[in-house]
């Protein structure tokens, strides 16, 4: 796939989530972000807190990897091809995937979260992600690799890392949206 088109798509998908958070979620009363559909299900604030945990890891990892690649003189490529694992992770992560997943213990959000702080951090992270997608135009999405958070020995291509990270966000942003709408 053409690299610029792919990055444009990543940008638009992130923009869509960010726009929802800014125009709608940040103006909701705290209570609405905290309500749970059932005692054992997450509130919207918890969904976003869960995403923030991954943001903390991936945004830092991506930033570092892009900087290193640039200092090594890495150059952008014309097209991107998903790796086998990368394509698989992205597929199961997308919101319409039928695969059920259980979050690893460290990414399960606490029962009590401050919804305003969580949302502010979430918005910050989406802005950072947009900046990183832009910076990624300067490096090769096939060659730069990022270790995944749960297994450092598995290193996905940068293009796949964006792909599955954004799919994961879409999955839980939709979940948050459903919870908010009740």
């Amino acid at each position: 796939m053409d690299t610029q088109t792919l990055l444009d798509q990543f940008h638009q998908r992130t923009e869509a989530i960010l726009s929802k958070a800014v125009t709608e979620w940040q103006n909701l009363p705290r209570q609405q972000l905290l309500q749970k559909p059932a005692p054992d299900r997450w509130s919207a604030a918890q969904c976003l807190a869960h995403l923030n945990v991954y943001g903390d890891y991936y945004l830092t990892a991506i930033e570092t990897a892009i900087q290193r690649a640039q200092s090594r003189g890495n150059k952008p490529g014309a097209s991107f091809r998903s790796g086998y694992l990368g394509a698989y992770f992205t597929k199961v992560m997308l919101p319409d995937s039928k695969t059920k997943m259980k979050s690893p213990a460290n990414a399960v959000p606490p029962e009590v979260v401050d919804p305003i702080k969580v949302l502010a951090k979430f918005i910050d992270q989406q802005e950072q992600l947009l900046t990183l997608i832009d910076k990624a135009r300067m490096v090769n999405l096939n060659q730069v690799r990022i270790p995944i958070s749960i297994a450092q020995w598995i290193r996905l291509k940068l293009g796949d890392t964006f792909g599955f990270y954004i799919a994961h966000q879409e999955r839980h942003a939709l979940q948050a949206e459903r919870v908010i709408k009740g």
Binding site: R30, I116, A120
Partner: protein, 191 residues
């Protein structure tokens, strides 16, 4: 409002047709994604912008690395780093988009050429700059003698739509408040 003719007719209804005609020639469409830096500190502002869509801000970064948001712009308004543009000297501020934005913009060379051809345009420009100066001085008073809550209420009266358009941290920063304090005040007002 999509064209330069509509824009200037709205801003300056009495502008003579000859000047309008020359201005329209030099303003071109420009689009920028969210969080695009249009002018960096140290660069000379190359363009005079008219905002068609979106919200932008100018901000300074202090020696301690902290940002100070000086101004928001949104339709219908001029935009860009005004002092750097008019004086053609390096900008002390950053100018960035906070939402996806569309502009009409003219380069300094083109704009200056039209000004030289039409001395009357200087008068329109002076009135526009006077309005800006009025706003800057009013904000100076707000910053020095208003309480945080008064500043908050003043902004919500003047630009309530900003709450739905940009992340609240930028509004809090513009008001000189921390984000927690800002959300507390917002919660109180809604009740």
């Amino acid at each position: 409002m999509t064209g330069a003719r509509d824009y200037f007719s709205h801003l300056w209804p009495t502008l003579p047709e000859a000047i309008l005609h020359d201005l329209i020639e030099i303003f071109h469409q420009h689009e920028a994604k969210r969080k695009s830096i249009l002018t960096a500190e140290g660069e000379v502002e190359k363009y005079l912008y008219l905002v068609l869509e979106g919200v932008q801000r100018a901000y300074a970064i202090g020696e301690d690395g902290r940002e100070a948001t000086l101004v928001f712009t949104y339709p219908i308004s001029f935009s860009g780093v005004a002092d750097s543009f008019l004086l053609q000297q390096p900008s002390r501020y950053w100018f960035e988009t906070l939402t996806p934005s569309k502009f009409l913009r003219a380069s300094f060379q083109d704009f200056d050429a039209v000004l030289l051809r039409h001395p009357l345009l200087e008068r329109y420009l002076r009135l526009a700059i006077s309005k800006t100066l009025e706003g800057v001085l009013a904000r100076q008073i707000e910053l020095q003698s208003y309480t945080a809550e008064q500043r908050f209420r003043t902004l919500l009266q003047r630009s309530p739509h900003l709450l739905q358009l940009v992340p609240h941290k930028y509004i809090a920063n513009y008001l000189g408040m921390d984000a927690t304090n800002f959300s507390k005040m917002l919660g109180q007002i809604k009740i």
